[in-house]
């Protein structure tokens, strides 16, 4: 999380309160786990940050530096080659 820069997409297994500074830098958040009441869902809604939760595989499929497109309306996360 220390490597997060403004506008990065934050990809994590799940988010925790300690990750708020990184979340505030994120242009979007993607998690492996969680439901509609998870920390990522609550905070992203309040901060108006697009968020896709419960992908199960985001952290295994997406690597640091990958370019990704997040469509939070449709729940789609796409790795852009």
């Amino acid at each position: 999380m220390v490597n997060m820069t403004q506008g990065d997409v934050l990809v994590a297994s799940m988010t925790r309160p300690e990750m708020l500074p990184a979340m505030k830098k994120a242009s979007a958040i993607v998690t492996d786990e969680g439901g509609v009441t998870c920390h990522a869902a609550i905070v992203s809604r309040e901060l108006n940050i697009p968020c896709v939760i419960g992908t199960k595989i985001a952290t295994t499929m997406i690597k640091d530096g990958d370019r990704v497109e997040v469509n939070a309306t449709q729940g789609i996360v796409r790795i852009i080659k």
Binding site: P17, H39, I49
Partner: protein, 133 residues
């Protein structure tokens, strides 16, 4: 950020009968740390807990380890049941909604509440520059 959640979960309080308030709603979001957990409970639950657990120093709450239980959020004229019934579930635990926290802190207006209000304002004021462009 919010310690002793396990302690609270072990109490196995009945759902819809309690909500975390005080600094808890701030801590669960990561706005600031909390040193303990304050829980607001409905009257029936308060009555049964008061038979088991000792009062706090001020006599307005009960001490259950690191969890402090209250039946009122003074000075606040919002109905306790409403605060609990409208609680927001975050990570499977009920938290008093942030709008009530803001209202309460504005109402009380102590120095620490003013600081918390600044932190909440800062929390809600994200840099949307990249997204707006």
């Amino acid at each position: 950020m919010l310690p002793y959640l396990d302690e609270l979960k072990q109490l196995n309080l009945p759902s819809k009968q309690y909500a975390i308030f005080g600094s808890g709603p701030l801590a669960i979001r990561g706005i600031r740390e909390a040193r303990d957990i304050d829980v607001l409970v409905k009257k029936d639950l308060w009555d049964s807990l008061a038979k088991i657990y000792p009062p706090n120093e001020k006599g307005n709450g009960l001490i259950i380890g690191h969890v402090e239980v209250f039946s009122q959020w003074e000075p606040f004229d919002v109905n306790v049941n409403e605060l609990i019934d409208t609680a927001e579930i975050i990570e499977n635990l009920p938290f008093v909604r942030m709008e009530y926290v803001i209202e309460w802190k504005k109402h009380v207006g102590r120095e620490k509440d003013k600081k918390d209000l600044e932190l909440i304002e800062d929390y809600l004021k994200s840099d949307r520059t990249l997204k707006d462009s």
